[in-house]
């Protein structure tokens, strides 16, 4: 195993201090790998629970961070509350806190379900929803839920705050819309009276990185009714692990918009999804498997909603 690097680390006591350090990132060039000696400069990399970032400290997954900005002590970034029709989660909210939160379970139970599928107790006690978003893995399990609920990610820095819609937060593979001097502060999920369903398919129930992860949201009749509910509106079909970024499936959404969750609708939506997805073969799964399973998962969620 290669040696573990121990880059410089600062633990700011306040958000203002964190912003001031992060402001050094504006215009900061990447460190010169040919430079000799210990790395003492280079961009600050925000560190939350470390469940993704500390896996990179051996350098086996690319260059390890040059400098670490430890956010763990910033209680300003913690907590779950209702505010102006939104459920607001501080960026440092852990998966365990999400699972246990009565507010999450009442208003967005699909997010609690997603949090419960991530890693196991050790990861859920440290991993944060903000870290999941900023790590920007296409397999991030909460990210389809954020897309399906029209969540807004609140970025902030010394220049002020700005909202970024989830649909614009992951512009490319492993990339976020954050500027180098910005932190993710909070995630706002509008309480739009939508039904949201979540399903993850991995190799095992715990400690698995997703092969396919899907969130489905709609407005309409109650789910699980004994008769198919009425037509759906504001439908969102969001997926992870099937593209370079978390994505929404426009084709499947178009089929479902205005349609009732009947067997015929489910068949057409699943076909549309299989036709529009362009997954890849990699170490965790194959393109064929991902396309087939994503379509099946969507079909099943529609069937469960339709009660047939």
């Amino acid at each position: 195993m290669p040696p573990v690097v121990e880059p410089p680390l600062e633990s700011p006591a306040t958000l203002a201090e964190a912003f001031a350090l992060l402001a050094e990132n504006a215009g900061e060039a990447a460190p010169d790998p040919a430079a000799s000696g210990a790395v003492t400069s280079g961009p600050w990399r925000p560190l939350a629970g470390g469940t993704d970032l500390y896996v990179q400290m051996t350098g086996e997954l690319g260059p390890p961070p040059a400098r670490l900005l430890d956010l763990w002590g910033l209680d300003e970034l913690r907590g779950i509350r209702l505010d102006g029709g939104d459920l607001v989660l501080g960026a440092l909210t852990t998966y365990t806190e999400i699972r246990r939160s009565p507010l999450v379970r009442e208003h967005v139970p699909a997010l609690a379900e997603a949090a419960a599928t991530i890693g196991a107790a050790q990861i859920q006690n440290r991993g944060t929803i903000g870290g999941n978003a900023v790590n920007a893995s296409p397999a991030g399990d909460t990210l389809p839920v954020l897309l399906a609920t029209d969540a807004v990610l609140v970025a902030g820095g010394s220049r002020g705050e700005r909202p970024i819609p989830a649909g614009a937060f992951w512009p490319a593979y492993r990339t976020t819309a954050l500027a180098p001097d910005e932190l993710l502060l909070a995630i706002r999920i509008p309480l739009a009276a939508r039904e949201v369903r979540f399903r993850k398919v991995g190799t095992r129930r715990a400690q698995a990185i997703s092969k396919v992860v899907l969130a489905l949201a709609w407005r309409g009749g109650p789910a699980g009714a004994s008769v198919p509910s009425g037509p759906w509106s504001d439908v969102r079909v969001a997926l992870g692990s099937v593209a370079p970024t978390p994505i929404r499936a426009a084709g499947a959404e178009a089929v479902l918009e205005g349609a009732a969750p009947t067997p015929e609708t489910a068949d057409r939506a699943a076909e549309a999804l299989a036709a529009e997805l362009r997954p890849i073969d990699d170490v965790r799964s194959t393109a064929d498997y991902r396309r087939t399973v994503a379509a099946r998962v969507l079909h099943r969620l529609i069937r469960e909603a339709g009660g047939w």
Partner: protein, 168 residues
């Protein structure tokens, strides 16, 4: 170097180390507590599990700066204190989980055992009972390649039954 003070197995400790050093390395290299093991170094195996403020974590993924002021428990800190320490029978000094692991053959090669015990301690401290499914979820982040888990689950269930799981 950063000075980091925290409580380790009930006693205050202070280390002068890089703040980004992994808690696992501080425990094993700087403090000489080799109970927590490095299996994978990436949060898959749970062999490095310790409790931080009562929550089970992988110590290979925690910067030591992040436990400043916290309470850390490793497998070395399990067991009963007080009068039990004067008992002539070593079994009396063990955590009921350790006794149950011994009685059920819950340890074979032993690499996963410290992490298993710590994850199980977190589960019992949170009020967990003898339900095998709940126990399996509680140790889902701890890999064992010897036992097939059955004996580990039985041992934790026994410890949960005995004294309602109250141990250390």
């Amino acid at each position: 170097m950063t000075r980091v003070a925290f409580t380790l197995n009930g006693a205050p400790v202070e280390v002068d180390v890089p703040g980004s050093r992994r808690l696992l390395d501080v425990l094993r290299e700087d403090l000489g507590l080799t109970g927590a093991k490095e299996g994978c170094g990436e949060g898959e195996c749970g062999a490095c599990s310790v409790l931080v403020d009562g929550a089970v974590v992988d110590s290979c993924l925690v910067a030591v700066a992040q436990v400043r002021g916290a309470t850390v428990l490793t497998v070395e800190g399990l067991g009963r204190g007080g009068r039990a320490l004067e008992s002539p029978d070593p079994l009396d000094r063990l955590d009921p989980l350790q006794v149950a692991f011994l009685e059920h053959g819950g340890a074979q090669c032993g690499i996963c055992t410290p992490g298993m015990l710590i994850a199980a301690r977190a589960y019992l401290d949170a009020g967990g009972g003898p339900d095998p499914d709940a126990i399996r979820e509680a140790i889902a982040g701890n890999l064992c390649r010897c036992t097939g888990y059955t004996k580990i689950v039985e041992a934790i269930a026994q410890a949960a039954d005995v004294a309602g799981g109250v141990g250390r």
